[in-house]
Structures are given as C-alpha cells and as structure tokens.
C-alpha cells in the first residue's frame, strides 16, 4: 500500500490511513495518490518539502514547531493539488529565536479545496516570518488562508501573503486573513496581504488586522468578576482557539491546545 523510504513517502491510490503519519526533516517529498486519504504531523520540520495531493485525495498536514530559544528555523513547503483534492494545513509555532516559513501552493487541478491555517505565539525577542504564495493555475478552486499571530515583549512577526490568480483561473474563490494581537508597546506585527488577479470572474478578498486586546471586551469580562489577568488570558486564548478549533484531528488538536495553554502562561 505505501512505500516508505526516508526521503520520499509515497501513498498508493485509494489508501486510507486513520492515524497521522509522523514526518521528520529527512523527508523531502510526499506523494498522496488518487483518492487516498492520509494525514501528516510534522514536528520541528526543517528544510524543504514537496507535497503532491492527487485527484480526489484528501490530506491534512499539521506542522508543530516548538524549539529551543536559540534555534533558527527555516521551513519551505510546496503543495501541488490536483482535481477535486482537498488539502488542509495547520502551522503552529512557538519558541525559537527566528522562524522563516514559506508556503507555496500550486493549484493545478480544478475543483480543489485548500485551506492554510497558522498560529504563532511569540515572546521575548523572537522573530517570525511567513510567506504564502497561493497560485491558481486552473479555474473553479476554493482557497482559504487564515493566519494569526500573538506577539508579546519585543517579538516581531511578519506575514506576506500573495494570492495569484492566472488569467485562465476563472471562478476562483479565495480568501486570505491575517490577524495580529500585539500585547506590548515594543512588540511589532507587520501584515502584507496582496492580491494579483488576472481573471475577471473571481471572488477574492483579504483582511488584515493589527491590534491590542479590546478594551470593551476586557471591561465586559471584568464586570463579570474576572480579574484583569484572567480576563486577558481568556481573550488571548480565545483569539488563538479560533484557529485550533479548526484542526480536524482530535488527538492533535488536544495536544496543541495543551501546548497553547502552557505557552500562554508565559505571556
């Protein structure tokens, strides 16, 4: 059913695997055959990875980065999607001195559904940069991007998202959102969402926000008897949970949730 070598993971057409496959940095390619259904978990993945999702295949990929304070992390992932495929990716990161992440999707088959989600929690002087390039080569696809960052202390994050719709890619439905929660005066968030559209019959939108905790929400929680520290932590975790709640793999979702709770205690 599946050929497993260290560098190339190949899943034959039609295979169904219920538990997520652990992927290490030695892997450079994942091939998900037609109609196959496979999920992946990447732990501190460093390097370059190509993921090809065949016709009618379904694939969820969860990348979890929580490395030591000195680590420089670079992750480049390219995803190629074919007809009627469904790809969902989650990038969760905290820790590390510097993180550089580049996510490219080549939408090559019609009627695909692609969702990229990300959550980064940054503290101290950490920096975190995400580049996404959602490239629509064919008509009739739906793509979503939903990235959130929490920056505390003197941390910095940057989101550069490009949605590119080629002339032929009519009826593209693409959405890109990047929301940043800035918790201190010295923390910084930069958001650069971009749309380049060469087709005329498409539905594309983007939204970006950079903001602090909402004073009215804080006040509301306080009037219900919750002290400031607890009210803050409820709001911060609510901001983050909007992403985590979308993770379809229950076991992984729970782990990430616990990891998040621990991380939020340090903010």
């Amino acid at each position: 059913m599946a050929t497993l070598s260290k560098t190339i993971l190949t899943f034959e057409p039609g295979v169904m695997i219920n538990t997520p496959i652990q992927v290490t940095s030695e892997t450079t390619q994942i091939q998900v055959g037609k109609g196959a259904h496979v999920d992946f978990e990447l732990l501190n993945y460093q390097g370059s990875l190509l993921v090809e999702v065949g016709d009618n295949a379904r694939c969820t990929l969860l990348s979890n980065t929580h490395c030591g304070p000195q680590t420089h992390h670079a992750e480049t992932i390219r995803i190629i999607t074919h007809t009627h495929s469904h790809f969902q990716g989650f990038w969760f990161s905290e820790g590390g001195a510097e993180t550089q992440r580049t996510l490219t999707v080549d939408v090559q088959g019609e009627h695909a559904l692609i969702k990229l989600n990300g959550l980064a929690i940054l503290n101290t002087t950490q920096t975190h940069t995400t580049h996404t390039f959602m490239n629509h080569h064919v008509p009739n696809c739906e793509t979503h991007q939903f990235f959130k960052h929490i920056v505390a202390n003197e941390a910095q994050c940057e989101f550069n998202g490009l949605v590119y719709v080629n002339e032929i890619a009519q009826k593209t439905d693409s959405y890109q959102a990047n929301h940043n929660l800035v918790l201190s005066d010295n923390a910084r968030a930069i958001s650069r969402p971009q749309l380049k559209i060469f087709a005329d019959d498409v539905k594309c939108s983007h939204g970006a926000t950079v903001g602090q905790l909402d004073e009215e929400q804080l006040f509301y929680l306080k009037t219900r008897g919750l002290p400031l520290a607890q009210a803050r932590s409820i709001l911060i975790s609510g901001f983050a949970e909007e992403i985590i709640d979308r993770i379809p793999l229950e076991g992984l979702r729970k782990n990430i949730f616990l990891q998040l709770k621990k991380q939020l205690e340090t903010l």
């Binding site: 004073e215 306080k222 008897g225 919750l226 400031l228 609510g238 901001f239 909007e242």
Partner: protein, 245 residues
C-alpha cells in the same frame, strides 16, 4: 444598599452626569427612564467602573463602602451586576466556559469551592430553562452572532448565575419582541427577593407592566429631574417627557 451622592462624571472632558443622587434599598425595584442621551448608560458604566469615564465629584456607596476606587471585577465580586445595553461579542470564547469561570470567581470570593464543568452543567440547566434558552447557546462563543434578543437573554442568564445583590439592567427590554419580553420579565421576577435591589433602565412602560417598580426616576441631561411611584411611568407614557423638561 446603593447610595449615589451628587455624582458628576465626564468622558473626554465632556460632562455627562451632572449631580445624580439616588438611594436603593434591598428588595426595591427602581426604574430609570428618560430621553436618549440623558446619561442612563453612562450612569450604569460609571457604577460598574468603566475606565473611559472620570468621576469628577460625588460618591457611590455600596453596602456602605465607597466603590469608586475599586476595579470593575472587585465591584462585581462584591455583588454588583450590569446587564449591558449592548452586550459585547467575544469571538473564540466559549459561553459555558466563560460563565463557569465567572461563577467560580464569585465562589472563590465567598470562600466556597470552585465547581467543575459537570457540576456547573447541572446548575445551569434550570437557569437556562428560566430564560428559555437551548443548551446549544452554551456551546457558542460569547454573544457572537446572537440576535438582539438572544444577547439580552444571555445577560439575564449571567445575572441568574452570578446572583448579584444589585442588578442594573440597561435597556434589557429594547429590541425584544413580546414573547422575549415576557420571558425576560419572568426571569427577573423569579430572581426578585428581599435582599436584592434591581434597577431597570427603560424607555417603555410595557416592561413595567411585567416588573412593577417601587420607584420611578426620570433622567434628563445628566440629572434626575423627577422621582415618583409607578404612576409616573404611566404619565410619561401618556404625555411624553416634554412636560417635565
């Protein structure tokens, strides 16, 4: 239990409250009426400690203690509750979890043990029934995507859970259809007891048919211009505010 003495407050250097005095005793229901912009919501926000307002003079005593220097959460844990005219939406924050945390904060204050989600679930069912809300409300984010009426019922649910000594209900009846108004009134009446004070801010006599006030105040331009019994509300319904201004 609540004594407001010559309260003056401003926002962004604009004076809004210009000398409010009001005394509420345990077991009483007060109604505050008055035209839009007269400062009713400002009064409720100042009493609950909103940071945007500056109190320039006057006092607010709750059970004899001046609360103006206390943080909003401390006031709440003393037993003060405000039902917002415009309840705040909080995406990502689970309604049941939020209610339980608020409930536990109050219990901790009273030296009681915190309850776990199972125990809380038991406790909240009867309260949900009172406001005729489906349990799936609890699974949604706080007020997010709730209709106007659902938000108001959620405020009343919070009141029932937190069991305040003094509840300030700011236009809880606005935007309610007749069924929702009946439900909300029934819940408030069920909560009424000798040790609790209730303040209803409203534009409409119809709420006061369901929840009968002991005292009615009319507020205009930052002061209380008239107080009386429930017949005052009927007179206002008939003649409007003009004759008082």
């Amino acid at each position: 239990m609540l004594e407001i003495k010559n309260l003056h407050a401003k926002i962004n250097d604009t004076p809004i409250l210009k000398g409010i005095s009001l005394t509420i005793k345990p077991g009483e229901v007060h109604a505050i009426m008055g035209p839009n912009g007269s400062g009713k919501s400002t009064l409720s926000k100042v009493i609950s400690g909103h940071p945007a307002y500056d109190v320039t003079s006057g006092e607010v005593l709750f059970e004899g203690q001046n609360i103006l220097e206390l943080d909003p959460d401390v006031r709440a844990r003393l037993g003060l509750f405000l039902a917002f005219q415009y309840p705040v939406e909080i995406p990502g924050v689970h309604n049941a979890g939020f209610l339980r945390m608020a409930y536990n904060a109050r219990r901790k204050e009273n030296g009681q043990e915190e309850v776990d989600p199972m125990e809380f679930d038991e406790l909240i069912r009867s309260k949900l029934n009172l406001v005729e809300m489906e349990p799936d409300f609890l699974e949604r984010a706080v007020n997010q995507g709730f209709s106007g009426g659902e938000k108001k019922r959620n405020e009343i649910l919070q009141m029932l859970v937190l069991e305040p000594k003094l509840a300030f209900l700011d236009e809880t009846d606005s935007g309610l259809d007749i069924d929702a108004l009946r439900i909300v009134s029934k819940a408030v009446n069920a909560y009424k007891k000798p040790e609790v004070g209730i303040v209803l801010v409203t534009h409409y006599q119809r709420l006061l048919n369901y929840i009968v006030p002991d005292v009615v105040h009319v507020m205009a331009n930052g002061v209380i211009i008239k107080s009386g019994d429930k017949s005052l509300a009927l007179a206002l319904e008939e003649k409007g505010y003009e004759w008082l201004l």
